[in-house]
C-alpha cells in the first residue's frame, strides 16, 4: 500500500466511525440543549437498539451472514428494520423520560443525572442477564460489495453507514429549523419559562426530544451491528463515551457541533492510530478535548454567551 492509499483508507475508516459517533452525539446534545441534563441512559439505548434490530432480522429469518440480499429487497428490508428499530428505541427513550425523569425535573443538583446512570445500568443488566455475555454474531443480509481505489477499499457497508447518517442528520436539521415542533424546541432551549408563557407545551417538547434522540441512537445501533457484524451487551460503553466526548468537543447543546465533533473524533481515532499507535487512542482524543476546552470552554461551535438566564 502506498502512503496515499493508507491515508485514504484511514479517512474512510475515520469517517465511518465519525458518522456513528455523530448520530449518537446528537441524542446527548439535544437533551442537554433542552433541559441541561446529561442522559447517560443514552449509552445503552444505543446498545438495546442494536439488539432490537438483530432480533427483528432474526424473526424474519436472517441469522449470521448466510442470507444475502441485493437491490430493492435489501433496501426495503433495511428501511423496514431501521424504522422499526427507531420507533422502538424512541419509545424506550420516551418511557424513560416520562416515568424515570419527569418527576425529577426541576430538582437541583445531580439527582437526575445519577438517575440516568441508574437507568443505564438497568438496561445493561437486563440485556446481559437475558441474552448472556457472549459476543453475538450479527444478522447481516448485506453483500460484500467493494470498490477499490488502488489498495484502498470502500465497501457497501461504509456507503450505507454514511448514507443513513447523512439522511437522518438532514432530516433532523429540517425538523428543528422548519417545523412548528422544532421551533418549539428551540424556544424551550432558549428559555423554558418564556416558552411556556407563549403557549409551548414544554412536557411534550421534552418527551419528543427524548424520542428523537433515542430513535437516532437506535439507528446507530443497527448501523453498528451491520458495520461490525457483531453486537454485545457491552458496546454502549466505549461508543457512548466517545460520542459524549464528541458532543462536548462540538459544544454541548449545539446540533451541528455534535455532528462536527463526531466526525472529528472518528478521524482523530483512525489517523492517530495510524501515525502514532492504537494504544494511545484515548490519550490523543482526550488531550485534544482538553486543549479545545482550555481555549474554547464552550466547545468548537458552542456559543460563548449562553442564552439561558
Amino acid at each position: 500500500m502506498e502512503s496515499w492509499e493508507i491515508l485514504l483508507q484511514q479517512v474512510i475508516n475515520g469517517l465511518s466511525l465519525g458518522a456513528m459517533y455523530a448520530l449518537l452525539a446528537l441524542g446527548f446534545t439535544m437533551v442537554y440543549g433542552i433541559i441541561e441534563l446529561i442522559n447517560f441512559a443514552h449509552f445503552n439505548i444505543f446498545m438495546v437498539g442494536s439488539f432490537i434490530a438483530m432480533w427483528l432480522m432474526q424473526l424474519m429469518g436472517f441469522t449470521g451472514q448466510t442470507h444475502i440480499l441485493y437491490g430493492l429487497p435489501l433496501v426495503g428490508l433495511l428501511v423496514l428494520v431501521l424504522c422499526a428499530t427507531m420507533l422502538s428505541t424512541g419509545a424506550l427513550g420516551a418511557l424513560i423520560e416520562r416515568y424515570g425523569l419527569r418527576a425529577l425535573r426541576g430538582v437541583s443538583g445531580t439527582a437526575p443525572m445519577i438517575t440516568t446512570i441508574g437507568l443505564s445500568y438497568i438496561l445493561f443488566n437486563v440485556i446481559l442477564l437475558t441474552t448472556g455475555a457472549d459476543t453475538k454474531n450479527y444478522s447481516n443480509p448485506m453483500p460484500n460489495i467493494r470498490w477499490e481505489f488502488g489498495d484502498a477499499v470502500l465497501r457497501l457497508r461504509e456507503v450505507m453507514l454514511w448514507g443513513v447518517s447523512v439522511v437522518l442528520m438532514i432530516a433532523l436539521h429540517y425538523f428543528v429549523r422548519r417545523t412548528k415542533m422544532g421551533k418549539a424546541m428551540q424556544a424551550t432551549a432558549q428559555d423554558q419559562e418564556a416558552a411556556r408563557m407563549v403557549g409551548v407545551d414544554v412536557d411534550r417538547v421534552v418527551i419528543i426530544t427524548f424520542f428523537i434522540g433515542s430513535a437516532l441512537a437506535g439507528a446507530a445501533g443497527l448501523i453498528f451491528g451491520l458495520y461490525y457484524n457483531y453486537t454485545s451487551f457491552i458496546i454502549g460503553y466505549t461508543a457512548g463515551l466517545r460520542a459524549f466526548t464528541a458532543a462536548v468537543l462540538g459544544g454541548i447543546g449545539n446540533i451541528p457541533g455534535a455532528m462536527l465533533g463526531g466526525v472529528l473524533i472518528g478521524l482523530i481515532e483512525s489517523l492517530g492510530g495510524q501515525y502514532l499507535a492504537v494504544r494511545w487512542t484515548d490519550v490523543i482524543i482526550f488531550s485534544i478535548l482538553v486543549l479545545v476546552l482550555v481555549f474554547r470552554p464552550t466547545g468548537l461551535l458552542g456559543r460563548a454567551a449562553p442564552t439561558k438566564s
Binding site: 448472556g132 457472549d134 489498495d151 477499499v153 457483531y230 481515532e269
Partner: protein
C-alpha cells in the same frame, strides 16, 4: 406375677437403652458424616466473553469430583465445591478485582483445603498473593502466564515462599516461543506484526512470542495493543495491511480476538494469522463464526488430548453428561482435579490432618498417572511436560459449527527451542 413384672421392667429398660444407644450411634455417625466432608473452591470466569470455555473447564473439574463422590468419596471424605464467578458485567470478561474478592471469601472458609482454577492468568495474578498468605494451593488447567510461578517474582506472587500455584499445562515461556518457531520453521514466515489485548496473559505471551521470533530471524514490523472494549480495529488492521507482513500474531483472549478476526477477514483475508490458547476454544469459534475464523492458527499449552484413545472414556462421559464437546482444557481440568483428590488421599492415608498446608505439600510431590500422562511439578509448581500443540480453524461442513474438535483440527506439536 412379680417375676413377670420384673421381666417387663428389664425389658422396658432394655428397650429404652437400645433406643438411646441407637440415637447415640446415629448422633455420632451424623457428626462423623459432617466432619468427613471437605470443600474445594472452583474459581472461573463463568459469565462474560469466555463463558463457553470456562464451562468446559468447570465440567472437567466436576466430572472428576462426581466420579470420586460416586465411589464413596476420597479416603472417606465427601468432596463439596464452592463455586465463584470471577467475571463481571463491567469488564465483560474475567475481572482481576473480582477474582481477588472471591479469593478473600474462599480463604475465610476453613473447610476449603484447595482451589481449582483459575482459567485466566489475569485472575491468577490477583489471587496468588492472597492464596499464599493463607497457604491455600490452587491448580490451574489453563492459565499460562509465566510470571506467576517465576521464582524471580516470588515476592509478588508467593510472599510466603511456598509454591501455591500449580499447573497441568505449561507456560507461555514455551507457548509463545514454540509458536514463533512454528511460524519460522513450518510456515516460513519472514515478517510479522504482533498485537496483544492489554491483559496479563495477552501481553506476556505476545512478548515471549516476539522475543523468540526475533531470535528465529523473523522481522517484527510493529507491536501494538488493543483495548478489548473497543469495537473498532479497522485502524490497526489498515496499518498492518499497509506494512504487508507475512503474518499477524495476536496474544489475547476471546473478547478482543473475536472482533479482530471478523475485521481481519475483511481487511487482511490472505495473511497468516495466529494466536495462543486464548483463541483456542468455543468462545472464539462461536463468537467469531465462519468464515471469519477460517485459517487462524491457535495453540494449546499441553499435548492434544481429546482425540487420544486414553481419553476416549472421558470424552464419552463428558458428552453424555453435558451435551457438549470437551476441549483439551476440559481434560487438563479433569487431571488437575485428580491431582488435588490424590493429594487429599495421600494426606489422609498417611494419618496426617487434611488441612491446607498438608494438601499443598502433597500436591508438590505429586507423581500421578492422569489422562495426559504422568503429572509432576518442579519446585515452582510448573508441570514438567512442556508440549505445545498447534491447531488451525478449518470449516468442515460434515460437523456442527461449534464442534471444536472438528472445526479446529490438530496439526502437530510446535518445535521446542
Amino acid at each position: 406375677m412379680k417375676q413377670s413384672r420384673h421381666t417387663r421392667r428389664v425389658f422396658n429398660f432394655a428397650a429404652v437403652a437400645s433406643v438411646a444407644a441407637l440415637a447415640g450411634v446415629a448422633g455420632i455417625s451424623g457428626l462423623q458424616a459432617q466432619s468427613k466432608s471437605i470443600k474445594l473452591g472452583i474459581t472461573l470466569p463463568l459469565t462474560g466473553a469466555d463463558a463457553d470455555d470456562a464451562a468446559k473447564i468447570e465440567h472437567g473439574f466436576q466430572l472428576a469430583i462426581d466420579d470420586a463422590n460416586a465411589k464413596g468419596g476420597v479416603a472417606g471424605y465427601k468432596i463439596e465445591t464452592v463455586i465463584f464467578d470471577s467475571a463481571t458485567a463491567t469488564a465483560g470478561q474475567y475481572d482481576p478485582a473480582q477474582a481477588a474478592t472471591n479469593t478473600k471469601k474462599l480463604i475465610s472458609d476453613p473447610a476449603v483445603v484447595a482451589n481449582l482454577g483459575p482459567q485466566m492468568s489475569g485472575e491468577g495474578k490477583a489471587m496468588t498473593p492472597i492464596l499464599s498468605e493463607a497457604d491455600l494451593a490452587t491448580i490451574t488447567p489453563s492459565s499460562t502466564n509465566p510470571d506467576i510461578t517465576n521464582p524471580a517474582m516470588a515476592g509478588t506472587f508467593k510472599p510466603k515462599g511456598k509454591a501455591i500455584y500449580f499447573r497441568t499445562v505449561t507456560t507461555d515461556a514455551f507457548q509463545g516461543p514454540n509458536m514463533a518457531n512454528y511460524f519460522a520453521q513450518n510456515l516460513k514466515v519472514k515478517t510479522v506484526y504482533v498485537l496483544d489485548d492489554s491483559g496479563a496473559y495477552g501481553v506476556g505471551i505476545a512478548d515471549s512470542f516476539q522475543k523468540q521470533a526475533e531470535k528465529d530471524g523473523i522481522k517484527v514490523l510493529g507491536r501494538d495493543q488493543l483495548n478489548p472494549k473497543e469495537a473498532d480495529y479497522t485502524t490497526i488492521l489498515t496499518k498492518i495491511k499497509g506494512l504487508k507482513p507475512d503474518a499477524l500474531y495476536y496474544g489475547g483472549v476471546a473478547q478482543a480476538g473475536v472482533k479482530l478476526a471478523k475485521q481481519a477477514y475483511d481487511i487482511i483475508p490472505n495473511m497468516i494469522k495466529g494466536g495462543g490458547d486464548g483463541i483456542q476454544g468455543g468462545s472464539f469459534l462461536k463468537g467469531g463464526g465462519f468464515p471469519a475464523v477460517e485459517g487462524w492458527y491457535s495453540t494449546n499449552a499441553g499435548p492434544h488430548l481429546t482425540e487420544d484413545p486414553a481419553a476416549a472414556a472421558f470424552v464419552k462421559a463428558f458428552q453424555d453428561k453435558y451435551k457438549d464437546v470437551p476441549s483439551d482444557y476440559s481434560i487438563t481440568a479433569y487431571d488437575a482435579a485428580q491431582v488435588v483428590l490424590d493429594a487429599i488421599k495421600r494426606v489422609a492415608d498417611s494419618g496426617k490432618e487434611v488441612n491446607r498446608a498438608n494438601v499443598r505439600d502433597a500436591m508438590q510431590t505429586s507423581n500421578l498417572k492422569t489422562l495426559q500422562g504422568v503429572v509432576s511439578f518442579d519446585e515452582n509448581g510448573d508441570i514438567k511436560d512442556r508440549t505445545v500443540s498447534v491447531f488451525q480453524y478449518k470449516h468442515d461442513a460434515k460437523y456442527p459449527d461449534d464442534d471444536l474438535t472438528h472445526q479446529n483440527p490438530y496439526i502437530g506439536v510446535a518445535p521446542q527451542s
